[in-house]
């Protein structure tokens, strides 16, 4: 017999949970990586002006 399966929890809410989880993950990590004051120690090349140190 070809009875139709009732949609499971995953059929009903899987897409919403997947999308919600992915958006939450991306947004929190974007915020954490850029806004809370973590410094990423980028290369100084072309960015930092060196400062004399010997006369200290």
């Amino acid at each position: 017999s070809h009875q139709k399966r009732a949609p499971s929890f995953h059929d009903k809410y899987g897409n919403a949970i997947l999308a919600g989880g992915a958006i939450f993950c991306v947004s929190t990590w974007t915020y954490t990586a850029t806004q809370i004051g973590i410094e990423w120690n980028m290369s100084p090349v072309g960015r930092v002006t060196p400062k004399e140190w010997r006369d200290q």
């Binding site: 949970i17 997947l18 060196p50 200290q56």
Partner: protein, 138 residues
């Protein structure tokens, strides 16, 4: 629990040692008695009912694509995202004050010292510094 019985039947082992239902009602036992006779006497519904007594799932149900991975991956992403919140909390309440050698001024002085030592002059830091004009090479 012994594998491959009851609901552990699967595509690679489709015939469980025990039937799915072991405790039968009066009605079901009568059906089982009827099964011992000629199967041409059984109606379609009775055949299906007998199948359902024996097996947990049909092959169509076993082969059915599941959306469970969406729920699983959604939860995985949620907890990975939650980790970022924990790190935020640590940044505020756990991290120590920045040490003096990590201030902008000290890092600029360290950079001058690295350039004075001609650090990594072929492809690295000093290779990008113009020592004549005292600026980064364009």
């Amino acid at each position: 629990m012994t594998p491959y019985v009851d609901c552990y039947a699967q595509r690679s082992y489709p015939m469980p040692d025990e039937p799915f239902c072991t405790e039968l009602s009066e009605e079901q036992r009568a059906l089982k008695e009827k099964e011992k006779g000629s199967w041409t006497q059984l109606s379609q519904a009775e055949k299906v009912a007998l199948y359902r007594l024996q097996f947990h799932e049909t092959f169509a149900e076993m082969n059915h694509r599941s959306n469970e991975w969406k729920t699983v991956m959604g939860c995985v992403f949620f907890f990975i995202g939650f980790t970022a919140l924990v790190i935020w909390w640590q940044r505020v309440y756990v991290f120590p004050k920045k040490v003096v050698t990590l201030t902008e001024e000290r890092k600029a002085q360290q950079l001058q010292r690295l350039l004075d030592m001609k650090s990594n002059p072929i492809q690295g830091l000093a290779a990008h510094w113009d020592y004549e004009k005292k600026e980064w090479k364009k």
